[in-house]
């Protein structure tokens, strides 16, 4: 028996067949139906915006990340998610800037993967909303042909005059907020409404997220907690005053709630590490969403609700630490 070159590694010597890149790429792959729905409803604009946002994220990762590690998939998923929460008529360069900001200031500046406090895609969206409020709240109408671009996709930075779009199609939440007009539940579920690219097809997102939950690629407690809280809280308000408040089905399937609950809030890096914390985190998001939508100045509150709860994650973690195995020792009287 000749001598062999033996490896010395720490135990355990077996490893579960799961890895961080595999989780990231599975999440990305599960978005394919959502992306397909976006393209189906919004035409080539959707594809261009998603590509621009992803390109911004990937190029920033390549330029500034010390590891230049695209293999872990976190830059791609951030870009795609950001693209999905942009309005269809946004200029492409803005989407690119948003993607770059999301990775640069949402992730890398904190120290890279695993270190960031806020969800990078949502931070990118918040930055765009602050920088270009008009562009981010313009919802262009449906063009004559599927092939036509929506609104000002091709506008150049600081050169094109502001798009004066004659026809705009408001989002269901806008209609609800400013005109108290609810939208048909069926249209909301299949996504045949105005809104951001990937947010409209609620049922598709629900199915994709459910798949991830079953495969254990996301913590199912977070979406269940968010959606449950929204359903209960908005249901109570609806019972109090059906003319003023939206019904729970509308609340669940309108705006970015479904995408936010399934894909944004469940980002492991920016959500609590404990399961008890996950329930609290989700309930907080659900509560804030209903509060902002019902009494805030904005029609939609998912983004700010998640970012706000992201900031609380360290405190939630600290408050929900598990207690170690073992019965508590009862001090005996004579001891």
């Amino acid at each position: 028996m000749g001598d062999v070159r033996l490896h010395l590694t720490p135990s355990p010597h077996l490893k579960a067949p799961v890895s961080t890149p595999r989780i990231m790429w599975n999440v990305t792959a599960s978005l394919v139906p959502v992306v397909a729905a976006a393209i189906y409803y919004f035409g080539p604009s959707a594809l261009l915006l998603l590509a621009a946002a992803t390109l911004g994220a990937v190029l920033t990762e390549l330029a500034f990340s010390p590891e230049k590690n695209l293999g872990d998939g976190s830059a791609v998923i951030t870009g795609v998610l950001l693209g999905l929460i942009l309005p269809p008529g946004l200029p492409l360069w803005m989407a690119f800037v948003g993607g770059a900001f999301a990775i640069g200031f949402g992730k890398l500046i904190f120290g890279g993967l695993g270190q960031n406090i806020f969800n990078p895609a949502l931070l990118g969206r918040a930055f765009l909303q602050a920088a270009f409020p008009a562009a981010l709240t313009t919802w262009p109408g449906v063009p004559d042909s599927w092939w036509d671009l929506r609104g000002g996709n091709l506008a150049l930075p600081f050169m094109s005059p502001p798009e004066v779009d004659a026809v705009t199609s408001p989002t269901p939440l806008g209609l609800m907020k400013f005109e108290s007009t609810p939208t048909e539940s069926y249209a909301l579920m299949i996504g045949n409404t105005g809104g951001s690219l990937g947010e409209t097809a609620g049922l598709v997102i629900l199915l994709c997220g459910g798949y991830l939950g079953l495969r254990n690629f996301l913590n199912w407690r977070i979406p269940v907690s968010i959606l449950g809280t929204v359903a209960v809280f908005s249901g109570l308000l609806f019972l109090l005053d059906p003319t003023r408040y939206a019904n729970p089905v509308f609340a669940l399937f309108s705006g970015g709630l479904m995408l936010g609950a399934m894909y944004m809030a469940t980002d492991p890096v920016t959500s609590p590490v404990t399961n008890a914390g996950a329930w609290i985190f989700g309930a907080g998001i659900g509560f804030l969403v209903v509060v902002i939508r019902s009494w805030g100045g904005l029609p939609e509150g998912v983004m700010y609700a998640i970012l706000f709860m992201n900031a609380l994650v360290p405190f939630i973690n600290r408050a929900t630490q598990p207690s170690p195995f073992g019965e508590r020792i009862v001090e005996e009287a004579e001891a």
């Binding site: 355990p12 579960a16 270190q115 404990t274 195995f325």
Partner: protein, 442 residues
């Protein structure tokens, strides 16, 4: 209740026991050279009482215990003491060992000895016989058995739990002992119950060993309260606190021993070894070892003399095959990689697992993404994610505050970590770092 609810958390690694679970135990021929390290159990190393050139018979004492927390060492083959020298130890260090040159023509007959009749012995005398025989826990930890058998004043032991879970993948040592020597196991239980003065015994066997459960149940004694309990396959079911939780639904408090809840846990292999002491009068000089894995030609269950070199045992099993990268003493979840084929098989060596590149390829490490999978795996309900970040920063004191002392290094967290962070290794280092800080402070 045939099926216990079990403990929470834990993992399900692939079992791979089919390689050897139906292979009968065979006796390996005596090797030419035997290596007997003086440190083979938790506690102090033994003190040699032989000198180079001395002739020893099989079963002779070659090193005496050094105090209570120590066990004597016996010659596992007739032969001549060659030297007492430094030798590779399976824990990775180099330690003092007695080298025996086996006598190739010896009939290996031990000296005539008195077989102790347990019925006539007081519990203290039984414990003394066990101590003199050098019996240690054969489940891997190698804790001196006699220490467990004498509970301190004021602690009442009501139940003996026989640990036959064998939750580590690949290993079938305990499995084959139960299938082939069930009467010996029951005899050992009888002696133990006498020594401990307990009324009740529960044998916990994972339900992937139905033939072992059947064999034990077919030979149950009529006059004793002994129960065989099938438990669910889950790692680390064989860690004693988890087994106690599963079998009698008590959780041993942090930092306390099973005695605290009125229980003594003995590995089924140790029970069989104790039975042998009272059957033949021979001390612990051989044990059953599983040699298995994809990298060995004939995966086997062997009776080997304690101190047999890995090289000799492998040769008897047909040698290595395929692209062997790693040889592990113990199970693959908690066992130690061996750098040296000359390392001896000790009293506490449950098995040898030979892994090929397929199982042990290096995996790239990614940053912690706080997914919380490790929290759901930790059977001790710790926060490995937090402990890992503290370990990374060398903040050992804070690791202590985060209950590092409760970590049993079972490896569940490392096993599930998607970022391939070597958490349990970091915790082992953290424990060492904390000890150092404490000695500095003292």
């Amino acid at each position: 209740m045939r099926f216990a609810a079990g403990f929470r958390h834990g993992v399900h690694p692939p079992e791979r026991k089919e390689l050897t679970s139906t292979v009968p135990v065979r006796r390996m021929p005596f090797p030419e050279e035997i290596v007997l390290p003086l440190r083979q159990a938790a506690g102090k190393p033994a003190i040699p009482i032989v000198r180079p050139g001395d002739r020893v018979e099989r079963g002779d004492t070659v090193a005496e215990a050094d105090g209570w927390m120590s066990v004597p060492i016996h010659a596992s083959s007739a032969g001549t003491v060659k030297k007492i020298d430094w030798w590779p130890h399976p824990d990775g260090s180099v330690a003092e060992a007695i080298l025996l040159e086996a006598d190739p023509y010896s009939p290996q007959v031990p000296r005539p000895r008195i077989v102790p009749r347990w019925q006539g012995l007081s519990p203290q005398e039984v414990v003394e016989a066990v101590r003199k025989a050098g019996v240690v826990g054969l489940g891997g930890a190698a804790f001196p058995t006699h220490v467990k058998l004498l509970p301190p004043e004021g602690i009442e032991v009501r139940t003996l739990i026989v640990n036959a879970a064998e939750c580590e993948p690949y290993l079938t040592t305990d499995h084959r002992i139960m299938v082939e020597y069930p009467e010996r196991v029951h005899f050992g239980i009888r002696v133990m119950m006498h020594a401990l003065g307990v009324e009740r015994t529960v044998i916990g066997v994972e339900n992937n060993k139905p033939d072992a459960i059947e064999a034990l149940e077919a030979t149950l004694p009529d006059d004793l309260d002994v129960k065989v309990q099938s438990v669910r396959v889950k790692y680390p079911q064989g860690y004693e606190k988890m087994l106690i939780k599963t079998l009698i639904d008590r959780s041993v408090p942090a930092g306390k021993l099973p005695m605290h809840v009125g229980v003594v846990v003995q590995n089924v292999g140790s029970i069989a070894a104790i039975a042998e002491v009272f059957e033949t009068g021979l001390p612990l000089i051989e044990r059953v070892v599983t040699l298995t894995g994809p990298g060995v030609a004939r995966p086997s269950n062997l009776i080997v003399p304690v101190g047999t070199k890995l090289r000799d045992a492998l040769e008897f099993c047909g040698g290595l095959v395929g692209d062997v990268t790693e040889i592990v003493f113990g199970g693959p979840m908690m066992g130690a990689s061996q750098p040296d084929l000359d390392a001896p098989i000790l009293k506490g060596t449950t098995g040898v697992v030979i892994l090929t590149r397929e199982e042990s390829r290096p995996r790239r490490r990614y940053p912690c993404i706080q997914c919380g999978t490790c929290l759901d795996a930790c059977p001790m309900f710790l926060n490995p994610s937090l402990l890992g970040q503290l370990a990374q920063a060398g903040r050992y004191e804070e690791m202590g505050e985060a209950h590092l002392a409760d970590c049993v290094l079972c490896g569940c967290c490392s096993y599930v970590c998607p970022s391939n962070i070597p958490l349990s290794q970091m915790f082992a280092l953290g424990k060492a770092g904390l000890r150092k800080l404490e000695t500095q402070a003292a």
